[in-house]
Symmetry: D2
Subunit: 425 residues, 4 copies
């Protein structure tokens, strides 16, 4: 088998200069700052992110939410460039090599995401997180790029000497969050989530190797925390989005169940591997081929399968899939307390009777679960505010007005999803 690979000649590098600007409806023009960043973007691992939506099934509620992890990573790169400029302008040393490395780290911070990550982690790739895959991809790329990613990986892992660089990539105020809140807000059209990433970045500084925010930025931080919480409830945990994602989990679980029991389901070769075997972290570490297989999975494999399965003779699978394809979604209730088992038991019994399935399978038509969100969790890491007297205080203390202590407690909500035709009273 012959494949002609353009990058094997030097030709395309001639074109490099002309392609170094990317149009972004959110920020305008984004310039690619380094050759290696350009080469990483060109790499198939990164191009794959063009086919993985940032917000999974959310487009079923917010039809504009089709933006991809590709665009998000480029956006986070852009904000990182701004942050470097501001921090340097305030006298914090960031060498050129460090600037390049932190740019690489942010570009690749999400490279390990699978399509519909959370759903897949609960069905096909049990137990292996996207953070773990990101590390595997970075190691692989570091080999291909002859070690040029070493510092970036150390920054990403938090083992590089300057901790504040790590915080730019992963922390309470990292460029990841600043970009995704703004971008998700933009593409969903939920204007309440708009944050002033510009202003927050302008207020960043470094104090004792910690990323801090100047005191006059307190209001922007409060606003950021509130906006993030609102986006959680209005978008990320919207009950219809939740219903669609839970349906996806159920569909993939059912498909895997059927596959492992010997049924032959339509799937791309890559998806077949995940339907027919239980790969663990160890398997991905051991055999590079498994990582390549994972790298070829994207939204297309998953949704194409759902479409074909929606005509499958097995009724549980086809019912759920048809619902996703035609947007006949489960009904979802959200409440503060767990649902009483008396109620859920009855619902499952109804489901078994109505859909003529076993009690075990009734769980595909009615089920409960919990979701949690910390708008701000100072136990994990703080947002440090730097006052003029060089004192540093956590935003939870520094904010005299907003009751951050209330915000920062974990908020758990409980959901109950049921097939829309299921009798519930």
């Amino acid at each position: 088998m012959i494949i002609f690979h353009p990058l094997s000649t030097g030709e395309s590098s001639q074109e490099l200069n002309k392609k170094k600007i990317i149009n972004d409806p959110v920020y305008g023009f984004i310039s690619i700052p380094y050759e290696i960043i350009f080469d990483l973007i060109e790499h198939p691992f990164f191009q794959r992110l063009r086919r993985i939506r940032q917000l999974g099934m959310t487009y079923l509620v917010y039809p504009g939410a089709l933006h991809t992890r590709f665009h998000h990573a480029i956006g986070a790169l852009y904000l990182t460039g701004k942050a470097i400029e501001i921090l340097r302008g305030k006298g914090n040393e960031i060498t050129d090599q460090e600037a390049e490395a932190v740019s690489i780290a942010i570009l690749l911070h999400d490279i390990g995401h699978s399509p519909f990550s959370h759903a897949l982690e609960n069905s096909l790739v049990n137990g292996v997180t996207h953070e773990h895959f990101s590390s595997l991809f970075m190691e692989k790329l570091n080999e291909e790029f002859d070690g040029a990613l070493t510092m970036a990986i150390r920054i990403f892992n938090g083992t590089y000497s300057k901790n504040f660089l790590h915080q730019l990539v992963s922390g309470q105020l990292d460029m990841d969050r600043l970009d995704y809140l703004k971008r998700d807000s933009f593409f969903t059209g939920v204007s309440e989530g708009v944050i002033s990433s510009d202003r927050i970045i302008e207020m960043l500084d470094v104090h004792h190797d910690q990323l801090v925010v100047e005191a006059k930025g307190i209001y922007s931080i409060e606003k950021f925390i509130i906006a993030r919480r609102l986006m959680y409830w209005q978008v990320y945990f919207h009950k219809t989005v939740l219903a669609a994602e839970q349906m996806l989990v159920k569909a993939l679980q059912r498909a895997k169940e059927l596959s492992m029991n010997g049924s032959d389901l339509f799937a791309t070769p890559a998806l077949q591997v995940f339907l027919k075997s239980r790969l663990t972290a160890a398997d991905f570490a051991r055999d590079k081929k498994n990582l390549e297989t994972f790298a070829s999975l994207d939204d297309y494999d998953i949704f194409t399968a759902l479409k074909v399965w929606s005509s499958h003779p097995e009724p549980v699978l086809s019912t759920i899939c048809r619902g996703l394809v035609d947007r006949r979604l489960y009904k979802c209730l959200l409440q503060q307390k767990p649902f009483e088992s008396r109620m859920t038991d009855k619902l499952k019994k109804n489901a078994a009777a109505q859909f003529k399935v076993s009690e075990a399978d009734a769980d595909y038509f009615a089920f409960t679960g919990a979701i949690a969100n910390n708008a701000y969790n100072p136990k994990e890491e703080k947002i440090n505010i730097l006052f003029k007297d060089k004192q540093v205080r956590d935003i939870a203390d520094a904010s005299d007005q907003l009751n951050i202590s209330v915000l920062s407690g974990p908020v758990t909500k409980y959901f109950l999803c049921r097939h829309p035709l299921l009798q519930h009273e």
Copy 2:
């Protein structure tokens, strides 16, 4: 096989009222004006448009251009509502039934689009246009909705008594164009394409059953014509977009060629039908099943196949597909005159030699073609300007400054595409 279909009960109609607002980053909130519009949106034929991008492969150049025909149709519906309001406000009679009918007509105007329409029309569904499919879908829906779409279909076809309603749906200034220019501009981030759809709609009126624009709107119309032309060259016919779309045509042609010759290619069941047979307009009219098959095709079927084919042992097919998946796109030249055959012949010879293929197959690696664009073609239909003295003149005459006659001639450009590694000198 049992499929539980929610709409068979009355329950979901209770939910109707809560879902009548759709978030749109372009216009804000869009309210669904009629029950039947809501039901049409819920229909699987329309939900399918959620999976067909408005701009096909354009996202490979403008990564934000992921918006779908679903969102565009909703947007055009919104503008139509505005136009109805304005026209009524100026004393033009539009009955409630007509308002509903024209809303249906604009909602469904693009329902017959296949994924990557232009590419597919040149490969898999030879000779059947998306307009033809739209008519077939509307007829089918009209049956399902017991004739409720009859007036809408007449408006769409131009056979309804009030011609200006047809012009709102299909004409030089229809709501389709006003929405797509604005929407494509928004999601690509090409701010030059922004048009003032608001202002143009404010200036609309009806004169002798023709849609006209008030004289003070001349500048906005000039701007609209210019913006449209710019969007053509900067987005729709961008040479890299062109390259990607031509590659897709070539890939599908090759796949069909192989399929018809007995090769077994990976494909969804629906795509298999199109790879293995040559369905004509007559076939779609004759057998409803063929239309159903067409209705289950979307971007997922096509791109998933490309992904799997990129590892196919047949090198022509896999080379093109790999190029699309990893974004190693053909190089494309655009010029005013046709390319000289001496040059293209030599290029094809080189291709045959370099890629070790027959001269016929060399056409997959180097080829030419033409594209044409009329920013404004008064021969087809005019943009009528209504002056205060009730005189009506075509914009090409009314505009004293802009040389519309130059703009309105068809602009043809010729392209030459070649594999990026092909020696060309």
Copy 3:
């Protein structure tokens, strides 16, 4: 003296139709919904608002904040039109006459503002509030319009039978606030203040004659309350804005002091009246001429006087004025507790010594004060949330997450302003 007054002929009414659209960078096009609204806008009392900035001296900190009360009133009118449409769509009866009346009420709600209202109320027009002037202007207009404003005035005063109409004009969620937060945010460029007025209005309903918000709008309301609070501290009470406004108070107090003591200061005839006499509410009620005089005051009278006074031989007056004109503003400290008198006494002593003025006049160079803000004060009026079970709860109870009780307490801050050259340690 002959003045030719165009409206005495019918001619300009011919032009009416052409002028019924106003361009607004915030909302796009705004249509004027009623003839009487058009006529009120044309009236000199309303045209006067073109010369009164919404945010007084704020442009010295946010240079874009030049928008006027004229534009704000038109914007609030626009939002009121939207709200009427939504409320009617949910089955709440609003007659055409009521719709017109509430539109008039919102258009005129701020008509009594003087230039730099808060500063003037503390210097030239002691004790007469802008609400009082608004009532006087409305009564005067009602006479001129032969009683056509009667219902509007009752809605404005809260004496009309449908209380929810009054709440649209003046209440926790009135169209005034929705517009000014959005508009101030837009023109200052402080994106954190952006509120989703669209979404809030979409969620409005009426329950037992009270304006309520549907339960699913809770997050938007929380966001609105937060945004409002942030705008207070970031814009309205910005310490440099505060300094400029306090300087204006001081300049006008000094000018009045000098005038009352017989000095002759440059001023427009209208301003002279206010410098040389102490008009009370009774004076304005008694003599229509006084209201006319007030009606001819605007930003131009005040700032022109400051400019001329900045070269006045009296050093206290000229120093303060020169500072405002050349933007050499006082330094301002803000803190949670009152400043200790020991410190302020010392500062005033320094001022007396340094600027060679009496201890009484030292107060012009160093002084303290307090400002207070309630982001939400449920004691005044509640924001009622309507749940699906038709229960109504105050947002402070309904919001399970945000500690509204903290937000809703009054926040008082204390300021200390001093001349920038004043020795302070």
Copy 4:
């Protein structure tokens, strides 16, 4: 007379760092790049621009158009910074000193504008242009800043060795135009005028010391030329704007006439000087005091006078002024050909009779004139397009589609203004 001048101590320099960001609704945050730029902005000459609107009387038609020359100058400074960065990135040498100098030059390019420049040049300051005043102010500032502006002045005058720096400040594509088109479009709300300043700047390069645009920027340039033309007819030469500005000219001419004839009119001291004497360019060069007097004139002096004069016993003056204050504007006709004298003579006769004035004074109530606009005038200076083969062609040749030759001819229109009550048939 004692005036306490803060900048005489070093104190405020401590504050410098905190004030180096300016909020701009158009671009977001603007950082002040150099200390001297900061000091120039702080200077009273520059602060004066806060009180001079960019678009004079345009706010009477577009109520948002209140933005000032201050904000525009800061915006042009911002774009210049971007351009420097892009040009340097393409290998064009710009030393740090040159970067600072060109920034100064653009900041001060409009410093000589009087309030309502065009009106004043035709009434009070006959024969002295704003360019001339700009030079005088720069010379004065250069003295105060000990020669630090010398290079900036040479760039401004076009006498510095690198011509392309001058072109950034003053040329077909200078940062002045790029900012004002975008800013005027933003604040008027006329979205058709939006240009992609970002994209144009990205495409700039230098070739043989000329500012050029890369070939792929052709469409953006065409769009820029079209947008500029549209802004002319839709905003700058809008017939109602024109009417207001002509009324201002007439009011000031009348006031000067009365003053020179011994009448005593209300005016600020600075305006009095211009009403009572005929200062020439020589007078401003000779006596620095005259420049200081000019420097203290702004929109406040002019509009305050109009307000007071609107109650003046002389009916011609008060009629025009009252019209401006209450927005009872003259009617204005625009056409391609000059108005026939038969018609205008008759109109003036009517005016004399109707308003009981002499035939000479009738000219205040009915008059004609001409305005001209070149969207693009290649005779003055070209917009050079740089092709890949290093050939340079003027946009008028390079653009194969748009008939630039039509656009580039001067477009003259003729206007006829008359008092709204004047009988005209």
